[in-house]
């Protein structure tokens, strides 16, 4: 009988068959993964029928009223696990832009469930004007297609402010926010190096240190022009682990902290002043917050404030204090202008 398959051909055939079978197995495994993931997702997200009303703190300001605001944000996120949320802001009597960014971040965090968010504005016309110009209501109505549900990486423009939510370092967005802030003050868009630098460092910190898991935490950055004071107010919020859970303290500091000789507020003060060494042991690291503080000291920015975990520090008054409530993340706030 004629030998149809020579030894070499047979070997090649076997190798080819093994390869194609492996490829088929990989294709099927990929298909199974996708199918299972699709099956695990409900076709229609469960809608909540109950709605809870939550009253906003009268002094709606993270930097001036941090304890009540943090408790309020936690309550929003807790309620959103099981029901829709109506944010009642009618009784608000003081409002600062950092809190608007904070509320947007809390709502976004809560909206990871299928909770429906709605709300009203302060009765005080001046405050409701601030809120409306900030674009806040466009975010919280939560109707189909509302941008906040899919706003990763997008920049929102408003008549009075600009907000953005991102998950990575994005200098284009930083520049956009800074130019918006400068334009609001001077009439023409322009650079402001210190603000650009702070935004960049804040994004990098979030990218490198703030993450709870493998994925980077989203961050929120907003600029609001306070026409009365002729100042542009920046807020940067990440809902990661916060400075004190991400910043690996040296042994000596850990010891001082453990013995209650130093609390987080005192550590924050040392961080501002550049007295906390970098524990990465890599030369040139640990300059972020000290350089931000230097910008404040040199009057290049104003009212520089950091809220992280259970401590808040303000460079304007050199006040550093512990909070009753702990914020999961870090908030940077500063102003530019007159």
């Amino acid at each position: 009988m004629k030998r149809l398959i020579t030894r070499g051909k047979w070997k090649r055939h076997l190798a080819e068959r093994t390869r194609s079978q492996a490829q088929a197995r990989a294709r099927f495994a990929d298909y199974r993964r996708r199918r299972n993931a699709a099956l695990a997702r409900p076709a229609h997200p469960k809608k909540f029928h109950k709605t809870s009303r939550i009253e906003a703190p009268r002094e709606f300001s993270l930097i001036q009223n941090p304890n009540e605001m943090i408790r309020f944000f936690k309550e929003i996120e807790g309620l959103a696990e099981t029901r829709n949320v109506f944010v009642d802001m009618a009784g608000v009597s003081a409002l600062t832009p950092d809190a608007i960014a904070g509320l947007l971040a809390a709502i976004h965090h809560g909206a990871r469930t299928s909770a429906h968010f709605s709300g009203n504005v302060p009765k005080d016309g001046r405050l409701s004007d601030i809120l409306n110009r900030s674009g806040f209501r466009e975010y919280v109505t939560n109707r189909e297609g509302a941008q906040f549900r899919s706003s990763f990486g997008k920049v929102r423009k408003h008549s009075g402010s600009r907000e953005t939510m991102q998950t990575n370092f994005n200098q284009v967005v930083a520049n956009d926010l800074v130019e918006f802030a400068v334009q609001a003050i001077t009439g023409t868009p322009g650079p402001h190096g210190p603000s650009y630098s702070i935004l960049g460092e804040a994004m990098l910190n979030t990218l490198n240190h703030a993450s709870r898991g493998k994925d980077p935490e989203p961050w929120w950055a907003s600029v609001f022009f306070d026409a009365e004071r002729r100042r542009s107010c920046f807020t940067f919020i990440d809902q990661g682990v916060g400075i004190f859970k991400s910043h690996r303290l040296t042994l000596s500091l850990k010891l001082l902290e453990g013995l209650s000789i130093l609390d987080n507020a005192q550590i924050l003060e040392r961080l501002f002043h550049g007295d906390i060494p970098s524990t990465t042991k890599i030369p040139g690291r640990g300059n972020g917050i000290p350089f931000m503080y230097n910008h404040h000291k040199a009057n290049r920015i104003k009212n520089f404030t950091v809220l992280a975990n259970n401590a808040i520090g303000g460079a304007e008054t050199e006040s550093y204090r512990m909070l009753r409530e702990s914020f999961n993340g870090t908030i940077l706030y500063w102003e530019i202008g007159e």
Partner: protein, 112 residues
């Protein structure tokens, strides 16, 4: 006419919007600036026996990490004294940057 220095204009030759420290963190990083422009130009200046004049104007701003990685990185490679002696910095937009960068060069090998 002889040239006393080589020029490097960050905004014109690299980017108006400097980025993070490392390439892995985003575009236009300090690491990229160091490897693509700063180091080659510094070596060229050394070979020509002139100083390197770095112009930092017309940029949106400079994240601290970007500057440290670029100029601190150069000093870690060539030594702080050599870099300080052969580099001139100019920035009319943000004059304080010159002092900041000199600090990064001086403390390039220092762990804070």
């Amino acid at each position: 006419m002889t040239t006393q220095s080589l020029e490097l204009n960050v905004a014109a030759e690299f980017t108006r919007t400097p980025g993070p420290r490392k390439r892995s963190e985003g575009e236009y990083s300090g690491e990229e600036f160091l490897s693509l422009l700063l180091r080659p130009r510094f070596i060229a200046a050394l070979e020509a026996g002139v100083s390197l004049r770095v112009n930092l104007d017309c940029a949106a701003g400079y994240p601290t990490s970007f500057l440290e990685e670029a100029f601190g990185g150069l000093a870690r490679e060539f030594g702080s004294e050599k870099v300080a002696a052969n580099i001139e910095l100019s920035c009319d937009d943000e004059p304080y940057l010159v002092e900041d960068i000199k600090k990064f060069i001086r403390e390039a090998k220092t762990t804070r």
